[in-house]
Symmetry: C2
Subunit: 250 residues, 2 copies
């Protein structure tokens, strides 16, 4: 989805390169930031599916094609949206604290970002968006890992590993919520409808572990995946896994 078209144009837009701004023609009624802001509002409110050029234009009281005078296409608009929310990421200061606290804060900040902008879990961000927001975020997060004798490559590895985890667990959480809304069924209702049917076709003796564990997990998390629990559990494992690398220099 992201990163289509001319990289030069995208980078000029991301960094608001003055030299790329045309000097002729009528005064524009909107700024780029207004377009990006409107797009983010739409996506925050109704998700990526609802993010259409027409919808953004409507929010800005203009015509769809006007959007294209600010942005080459939808893919570039997404890149700009991503960088904009990265720029506003809350960056908890944790200098001097132990590494577990610092990494927990980084994870927490990212988790909050995904909660505020659920669509962010959905956009592909390969060939990472190289805007000022993204770079600043990277700088801040690397700082949380610095000073433990890691090589530069390891620094990047550890951070990527952490962010991948937060991304994935946020994605799961958001998806669960989205499905619930889309279906307009609570998990209990869904199970009430699907459960009996499943019982008719599924023979527990064929899948002893699956039925036992599935039931136990379902009970424990009241009928569904529990995103908060998954996050807590995963983060604890993740930090334990990094300990051998980070506990050398305190």
């Amino acid at each position: 989805m992201t990163n289509a078209g001319d990289p030069a144009r995208t980078i000029a837009l991301l960094w608001r390169d003055e030299s790329a701004i045309p000097r002729k023609g009528p005064r524009r009624a909107l700024t780029l930031d207004q377009v990006i802001g409107a797009a983010i509002e739409v996506a925050d409110a109704d998700g990526l599916d609802a993010l259409t050029i027409r919808r953004v234009a409507q929010a800005l009281n203009t015509s769809p094609m006007t959007i294209y005078t600010h942005v080459p296409g939808k893919a570039e608009l997404l890149d700009l949206m991503v960088d904009a929310v990265y720029a506003h990421l809350s960056r908890t200061a944790t200098t001097g604290q132990p590494w577990r606290a610092r990494l927990t804060a980084v994870a927490q900040d990212n988790r909050a970002l995904f909660q505020d902008h659920p669509w962010l879990t959905t956009v592909s961000t390969q060939r990472p968006v190289l805007g000022p927001g993204a770079i600043a975020k990277y700088e801040h997060e690397l700082a949380a890992l610095d000073g433990h004798g890691l090589t530069d490559v390891q620094l990047d590895d550890c951070l990527t590993y952490l962010l991948t985890f937060v991304h994935a667990s946020a994605r799961t959480a958001i998806e669960a919520q989205a499905v619930r809304q889309a279906t307009a069924l609570t998990d209990e209702q869904w199970w009430a409808s699907a459960g009996p049917l499943l019982a008719r076709v599924l023979n527990p003796a064929d899948y002893p572990l699956a039925t036992r564990v599935g039931e136990a997990a379902g009970q424990a998390h009241q009928g569904a995946y529990d995103p908060d629990h998954m996050y807590e559990f995963g983060l604890a494992r993740l930090l334990d896994g990094l300990a051998p690398l980070l506990d050398r220099t305190p």
Copy 2:
């Protein structure tokens, strides 16, 4: 995307419930499995975006609307596709081996699955597809974790944690590849185009860590994220993180 519509209908389809098969009307020219198979072939070859009802119909030499006599809609078709590929997952036998080997095998099997069916990383699988393939997969994978004194809930937690990791890292790998194909640029070409521009707008002094580490990581992985390296690194950390839970009973 997935899990829309009537859960009862979906489950009946997933389990090929005989009692849900109509007894009247003309003999059908296609079986459900043919439809699913054709859909999987399309998605394997050209990705989820290319998976359209019209395309599946074409592959089966029939009309688009005929597909709808087999499947209520595209969402249900996706559920069926997911369960079908789960059913064919390679299940490496590892009974008796140490837990690290067993979990590595589970991860590897899933990784291979994602490589064979890249679209699988993209489909939302919340409110997990409860078909025979998915359950059999769950049963097999739980077995790899069983016998270390974990509670049922912990069993589920650990497995989910592992699968989330494999899913996320596969997703990153696939996305990187997809972008490369879509852009028709190699990473070197892309950087050649974007690099100089970036150098003009980005002041390295503002982001010392980011530029240093970014460059080091870029060099080490020859210009881009290296999915294989990310997977190896992540899996090692992941197993280290699970060790405190699993090393108690051998």
